[in-house]
Symmetry: C2
Subunit: 326 residues, 2 copies
């Protein structure tokens, strides 16, 4: 089955080069994949030919403008509709043959654009989920990780449903275990928001709620979906990232000091095990078609890995309305 994915070639720290090198690798690896690339047509064509990318496997949509990290969503949606990111979203919305999209750019603008052109039938604001490898193998879906930082209880219940659908359809987990991030495992622990959400989730017969999860078990594998407001979820994601970076740095220093080959080998093993940057990105949930927000500092492996996430979704049918209909 052919799968066509849109890639916004702008917005990555490493520029268009990184994106296209990654795209070339993904195309080599997956013959069923084709790309629609949005951005500066001349630059993209030149680089595609440098990289020996077959012309029939990429389509280029020229976009003259670029969304930066300083753009505010409301203004960008008004003034920059011909940017590579927003052209991508409009194309994704309009064209049936496009399955999903990847962008490394401004998260706020991406979410607002997704809400404008690709909102799901329930009309709720999209959420941003991260699929992180859990301690016991498998993945934990953390939702929300920053799309909405001031949440009501019903929003968190909605996040639970979105994560539930994703894990069921993407990994075939029949009844995903839904956990609620809190500051204590007991049902009485939490802030006002999580206490209210706790009782709503417990009363919800469609969801398999496993109770509160503390931060030290966020990624232990105690739940398949970790529900949290976007502010707290952002901390789970970034504190994990920061701690990993720090421990690997400490080990590298130790390896240098002891000049041990074995430890250098271990460091490489851990770097690959915990390489969150290459791992991919956050998934926009609540849209008709899947959109992945990749890290700003994405590398080539990131592009391969997010393409594979989308391929995986395409193969497994997904929680996205637009595709279910297709």
């Amino acid at each position: 089955m052919n799968t066509k994915i849109i890639i916004d070639t702008m917005g990555a720290d490493g520029g268009v080069d990184v994106i296209l090198s990654g795209a070339a690798l993904a195309l080599q690896k997956h013959p069923e994949l084709t790309f629609v690339l949005t951005g500066d047509k001349n630059t993209i064509s030149r680089k595609c030919s440098d990289l020996d990318i077959q012309q029939q496997r990429v389509e280029i949509i020229n976009a003259t403008d670029e969304i930066t990290n300083y753009d505010r969503p409301a203004e960008a949606l008004f003034h920059k509709t011909d940017s590579s990111m927003l052209m991508g979203l409009q194309t994704l919305s309009a064209r049936e043959d496009c399955f999903g999209m990847v962008s490394c750019g401004n998260t706020g603008v991406l979410l607002s654009g997704a809400a404008k052109w690709l909102l799901n039938s329930d009309r709720q604001r999209p959420a941003l989920a991260a699929l992180l490898p859990s301690e016991n193998g498998g993945f934990t879906c953390v939702v929300d990780t920053g799309a909405t930082v001031d949440c009501t209880a019903s929003m968190l219940v909605h996040f639970a449903r979105l994560g539930n659908d994703l894990m069921r359809q993407m990994y075939g987990i029949e009844q995903p275990r839904i956990g609620l991030l809190s500051n204590g495992a007991e049902p009485t622990k939490g802030n006002c928001l999580t206490k209210e959400v706790h009782s709503l989730l417990r009363a919800d017969e469609d969801l398999r709620f496993v109770g509160n999860i503390e931060g030290n078990n966020a990624l232990s594998g105690a739940c398949d979906v970790l529900v949290c407001d976007g502010f707290a979820g952002n901390q789970v994601l970034k504190v994990t990232e920061g701690t990993i970076r720090r421990m690997i740095k400490d080990m590298m220093e130790y390896a240098e000091r002891t000049d041990s080959l074995e430890i250098k080998r271990l460091c490489r093993h851990l770097v690959s095990l915990y390489d969150i940057t290459s791992l991919g990105g956050a998934i926009v949930l609540g849209t008709r078609k899947p959109i992945i927000k990749a890290h700003g500092n994405a590398n080539e492996k990131t592009i391969v890995s997010v393409s594979e996430m989308l391929l995986n979704m395409a193969q497994h049918k997904t929680a996205f309305d637009g595709y279910r209909e297709g």
Copy 2:
């Protein structure tokens, strides 16, 4: 200078044995230290004599009742005033010769008891700070880590002041750098609460505010005091803990697989470097005298280490009203 510290001998997962073995080690190491031990007098006397603890260096206050993790603060304060924890707090409040107190027990009851008997002159609810080793050496004071999970902006400014005083007086940092935990470094990033706090802190001439700090830099050393509401601060603390535990487990498994002595040695090095349990505990701020909430799963090293924190505070004059007056 002699320093007398109260230890609640109940409430640790390892029971009174761990506490007293730790106390014995601390007494050996620090001749200027004496303890007031609250708990079951018979048990404590017997174990002290088993451990060869000199009688003149410990005083025992008999407490028949015990606070458990199931006790609710309001009820415990009413019904369990003769528990080891609350006897400790009352003693700390009443006796001038006692410098501070340590408990491994129920955090909620400890904070409420502290608020009842040892509140600072500003009459604000105490906060719970954690002093964590930062990436560039030194310590970062994370405040609040769970005492108040639903916060107003003025509470967070108060936390900033408490942390500021602690770092200035305990480590002699003249103008501690105050950071605000948020989901983005830009001033416009954050939830409603942090945006309001951001402008209050920026306008505050007494504090050296260095702006928003993201989770991946929470402990990088970018600030001396990391201000956050108790819910988010609890995540910083526990997600860090969980990530460390997980990485060390992965390394241990790798060491077993490769049967490498060097890597086993590295694991031990990292375990000691990142041993949060032994490191100590959270400091109750906003009280007249210092109180340390040690981990429930405290070990002997924890007791030594929290005793040393209190000794350090006693030597450096501290941010605690009760002691300043002394």
